[in-house]
Symmetry: C2
Subunit: 426 residues, 2 copies
């Protein structure tokens, strides 16, 4: 019938019993006539165990030769998984064959521990599928131009699955995970949060980048670039539920906006507490000032998220940005030693107790007043907004972290996300 890619996370592959369940689920799809490619992660805990051994031995500092060996070691976790899953599929009476990334091959650049996929050769896999085999391919890894093993970074198996689906023009890529889809916000914070039946690729991209951990952001970028229909669904439903029911469960990430899309203005509320805010007050308002401030930060390999510079007065302006909370102390130190002498900032201040709350929705493109409704809602709750940043389909604010839950709940209600889509007041 169709070519389908399944991806299973480490929890789904966490024991031989669970691997057996994965095999039974895949067998159900294969017996329904689908051509099946499966991309499993390493068994949960395995990558950490392997890198823990390496950490006990490794020298101080980082080098390309060290990173190469870390990839050599870490990639074995997925190789074990594909072999075990292929065997479990054989026990289900299917023909099955596994491939490591280098055998496909999945070609990447040479950026060990965070490589990017460049191309995938699908000849071998297609031949196996044509011969009626289920093909099991390692996630997380590939091979570079010199024949060295590379890995794609944490969560890279999502990207592998999407890349394989793209290369093979699969009808759909199903990401089986330990949640049953994408929610309007985190149900642990807002019990009324609802699972979305569908979300646009752009919205998912914003949700992922804003801290929703359901999918690795690069896998979403890949899906968007190659227009791979992606579905996030639970690997903990019984394997023997009817295929027709399973095939429409979870959340579909689509780029066909008019199909299956809920017509809400705002699709979800994302938030995270991983950031810290830093401000340089009273810096000279002159060309090159942003580079003077952020150049040394980038050189120190510190990722900057939001950047705010307001209009100047009296030739002076205030410059603020956020970094990951782990980089907060280092960034402050760097600014005081390397940047302050150059910029003559009157003061450098920071705050690690902040959070970022974002509303995301394709509907914002065509509806005015969405941001102002957000600001009004927060104001009615007495929450002060410290920073604002917007894109075409999202508005993010930085607030005191102690108001995070309150803000998320209030916004979830204000944008009608508590109610099922039919009743949404748009």
């Amino acid at each position: 019938m169709a070519l389908i890619v399944h991806k299973y996370g480490g929890t789904s592959m966490g024991s031989t019993e669970r691997i057996r369940n994965v095999a039974k689920r895949v067998a159900k799809w294969a017996r329904a006539g689908h051509q099946m490619v499966v991309v499993p992660s390493a068994m949960s805990g395995e990558t950490n165990r392997l890198l823990g051994l390496a950490r006990e031995l490794q020298p101080e500092g980082h080098s390309a030769q060290l990173a190469r060996e870390l990839d050599m070691i870490a990639s074995t976790g997925e190789q074990v998984s594909v072999g075990l899953l292929a065997i479990a599929l054989q026990a289900e009476g299917l023909e099955a064959v596994s491939y490591a990334g280098w055998q496909v091959p999945i070609r990447t650049d040479s950026a060990y521990t965070k490589a990017r996929i460049e191309s995938i050769d699908d000849i071998r896999v297609r031949a196996d599928l044509a011969a009626g085999k289920v093909v099991v391919i390692t996630g997380f890894q590939g091979i570079d131009g010199e024949g060295h093993i590379t890995t794609l970074g944490r969560g890279g198996s999502d990207t592998s699955a999407v890349a394989v689906a793209a290369a093979m023009k699969a009808a759909e890529c199903l990401i089986y995970t330990d949640v049953d889809g994408v929610y309007t916000t985190d149900p642990r914070v807002v019990p009324e949060a609802r699972r979305l039946q569908a979300i646009s690729f752009e919205e998912m991209l914003e949700m992922a980048s804003l801290g929703s951990k359901v999918l690795q952001i690069r896998s979403v970028e890949f899906a968007g670039k190659y227009r791979v229909p992606l579905r996030v669904l639970s690997s903990f439903t019984p394997w023997d539920i009817p295929l027709a029911e399973e095939a429409v469960s979870g959340t579909l990430i689509t780029f066909e906006e008019d199909e299956n899309m809920e017509q809400a203005i705002v699709s979800g509320i994302a938030f995270n507490r991983d950031e810290a805010k830093i401000s340089l007050l009273g810096v000279a308002d002159k060309p090159g000032i942003a580079y003077q401030i952020l150049g040394p930060v980038a050189d120190a390999n510190i990722d900057v998220d939001m950047i705010i510079q307001n209009v100047a007065h009296d030739g002076r302006t205030d410059f603020s940005f956020t970094v990951h909370r782990n980089d907060y102390a280092r960034t402050l130190e760097l600014l005081k030693s390397a940047v302050q002498p150059l910029t003559h900032a009157a003061q450098i201040t920071g705050d690690a107790k902040i959070c970022k709350v974002s509303i995301v929705g394709i509907g914002m493109r065509s509806h005015v007043g969405v941001a102002s409704r957000m600001f009004r809602t927060l104001s009615e709750e007495g929450i002060n907004i410290q920073m604002i940043s917007t894109s075409e389909i999202k508005t993010s604010v930085v607030i005191d972290e102690k108001y995070m839950e309150l803000a998320v709940r209030a916004l979830h209600k204000a944008f009608g996300l508590d109610a099922p889509p039919a009743a949404t007041a748009a």
Copy 2:
């Protein structure tokens, strides 16, 4: 100075602490100016752990597709080892790079789980050595003509190391293990057993095939075929003993008989209790009878070791052979059902409580009366000999297993192996 191959077993690689010691030892050799290639096994217990997971999932029976996946899984143990050792070497300040078998490549046939090495391409390794790097290569595995991972069977890392040494024309291949060399016999049975400073390749081959577990027999065959000087030595001596002392420790396996060889007639006593004896009494003495008996045994994949057929009388003869004790019941069953009706054997008998004791020595070629001295010694101890088999450099007897220790001790003394070589009465 010279190109040296080191091989370390699973016990030597059993923990990060031990891997660190291996790295320090290799670093000592590298700093002395040697070009170093290192072949480590999987960390002890790892291969069993991996195959245990596979066993929980695998279907009944055996198939090539199952065997292929077992190799996919088992080969990861060595891949982790090479990565960890390369990292430990880097921590010692050396440049180090690891390769899986497929990366070298080490080419094998497609006999999954028991593949044989066909060729080794050394271009990549030579380039690294020339650039001053230590090269760490996985043992136990290779790649077949279709690009599938293969493994060489248990103990295959010895063979990998010797094959790499042969391909690269290494000056010596040092097998570091948990014993400090090859002994005249097992010291647990004969406390007077002495370590041999050198043993000929042919003697080592007999010792290995007769049950001495120091080296995998195929690695010895390989060493003989390509004339690789092989040394078995202990990985538990402190890593920082002087290199000059370490380089002559253990036992050298050589094919240059006149060099460093102890001129004893008998070099060692081997024994094993793994076999069982089966006899067919009163079979017709006619052409084809041996094939009629052993054909079905071979077809059932049962390995036969000793085979004895004595002269016939009255057109009837007795036919005896030994099999592994694990195959004893199955073989008896097979003979009774499939062979007895054809051969009209008067009786089929067997005995699993036997042992095989062998004397091995190149000196036997040129000295008459060695076998008879063996028989006289056993006779003086009142030990009955049930079967005898000889080759150019060994004589084996099958006796009741309860006399094993007595026989080995008596023979060890009778052939002067208790005394150091200078005092040997030849």
